[in-house]
Symmetry: C2
Subunit: 322 residues, 2 copies
């Protein structure tokens, strides 16, 4: 995992991914008490940054291997990134999804042309299903975050942040990144180390799922207590990745955590002032900027709005907060 | 009004306006039956393209004149564009708004730092109020569309469409533009004439407010029947502008009109698949692409999503359609 891997990923993504804008609004700045620049990855293809890593990983496979197709486990944004990347490459994709995943996410993944295999989370072993499929059809597994090419793909978002911050004359700032397994956070951190060393990543997680925050503090990977739930469903992974944690340990500042109420309020404020649709898990970094300003340094903060795949009922719930 | 005026406007806007992205989604393409590229001007500063024209007009004023300040009449998006442009220039702005304008729009305009003067639409003469103010304080009137510098500012959106279409390898397409007084439509048409002659503007208006469509057909300006209402409130002007109509007559293809139901459905589909917040009047072009495909030629259509200033109740109403 080097800066050069991210530059190579950028070349692969050129002309295929959206260069998402860095948005701002004076009303958001006023609420946060400092300048807030929002990297709107919800505008990425498939509605989240996950397209970047999936596209890069699939593009980097040897031709013969890629042609046989790919398989992924996901109930959400990674599923859609892999499905669309595969469709654009003209290769088969099998996505293994829990049968109780939201119908809207299953439908969207199928819309992008993937074969969906539903499994029962309580009685079936998804890894066994995936391994059997991979062996039988020669499919390659595309991991959601703990893969060098996936991290490099997400890192292209960091290269854009570096360029866009420079255009906005920002050379010294905290970059709050919505963090689940840490693929986006670690990719951005590696990109910024090379391209904009004055910008430093701090991961933001859902309250109760702050394994990365606690792991950074402890210096070793920690695991979340089981049995919790969160509306920030896109980023409720149990523990940091094997590849992402060492990168984070070396490069991240201290982690933060936002409550579900804060995330829903941030969804509504992004709707109101930035005109973008963000899901709760994609709004957790903005929520930290808005509602925990005392924990952040400096006169400018950059935040990722990582995804926007939210159903109407949840969106209405968010609108109730403004 | 020449292409060079638009190039000059671009230089003035550089570093101040957002270069809004050209978005797409396979689900939108499938619904429309052709490729649809959406110029997301709802992501422009103040939530609509109006910032471009206001910024250009105010920037182009002689220093002494600008310092005295500006005045504008508007109940919506132009108000916010003028208010923020003035605040950024550090000059006073007075916006004359009807006392029954939506509270959210009045509040947003005040947020941008403008002085608001409310008048009673039924008993007071806004022109007289404006003229008295302009004379007393030496303010310059910034017109919403019928001004060469305003049209040139909106034309910068057309320069970006030309570049972004080229990047997407589109050189021949219809460009559907949400049309009220015709400032955006005529600015884009002039820009495309110079920068991408294979792209041709067709204005889209609310049903019942299709004065531009009928004027183009008749060859002379027509007026809408009074007493009608529309949720597409941003673009319900009574008749084409004195400057915009001749440009449209020379450069526009035939006009189209979308019903309120179509516009609200387009708002919801933009929310669902493009992750942008669009107001009904800013969704009328997308609505035509989605629901009147038989009236459009070619395998690609470009549409403007012109603005996103919508209140929560109207947005909930739109969400009911998906």
């Amino acid at each position: 995992m080097t800066y050069e891997d991210i530059l190579a990923a950028r070349a692969r993504l050129d002309g295929h991914a959206v260069r998402t804008p860095l948005l701002s609004a004076p009303q958001i700045d006023a609420l946060a008490g400092r300048r807030v620049l929002v990297k709107a990855e919800c505008l990425q293809r498939t509605g989240s940054f996950k397209f970047r890593g999936a596209w890069n990983c699939i593009s980097a496979l040897p031709d013969e291997q890629r042609k046989r197709g790919v398989v992924a486990f996901s109930s959400g944004n990674h599923a859609q990134g892999v499905a669309l990347s595969s469709a654009l490459h003209g290769i088969p994709a099998v996505i293994i999804m829990p049968s109780d995943a939201p119908a809207t996410k299953i439908d969207a993944t199928r819309d992008y042309g993937a074969e969906i295999i539903l499994y029962d989370r309580f009685t079936e072993d998804r890894d066994a299903i995936g391994e059997a499929l991979a062996a039988e059809r020669g499919l390659t597994l595309v991991r959601p975050f703990d893969d060098p090419q996936v991290i490099a793909g997400q890192g292209t978002c960091g290269l854009e942040i570096a360029e866009q911050a420079r255009e906005a004359r920002v050379t010294d700032a905290t970059v709050l990144v919505c963090c689940g397994g840490g693929g986006l956070s670690s990719g951005i951190a590696l990109a910024l180390e090379g391209a904009a060393p004055g910008l430093r990543v701090r991961p933001v997680e859902p309250a109760g799922f702050d394994d990365f925050r606690r792991s950074l503090e402890a210096g070793t990977p920690q695991v979340n207590a089981p049995g919790q739930t969160s509306v920030q469903d896109a980023i409720v992974t149990p523990t940091p990745g094997k590849l992402t944690f060492p990168i984070g340990h070396r490069l991240f500042g201290p982690g933060l955590a936002s409550t579900d109420d804060e995330a829903l309020h941030a969804v509504a404020l992004a709707w109101k002032w930035l005109k973008v649709v963000v899901e709760p898990g994609g709004a957790t970094a903005l929520a930290a900027a808005l509602f925990q300003p005392e924990k952040i340094d400096g006169d400018t903060v950059i935040v990722t709005a990582s995804g926007g795949n939210i159903d109407p009922a949840m969106f209405r719930r968010a609108l109730d907060t403004v």
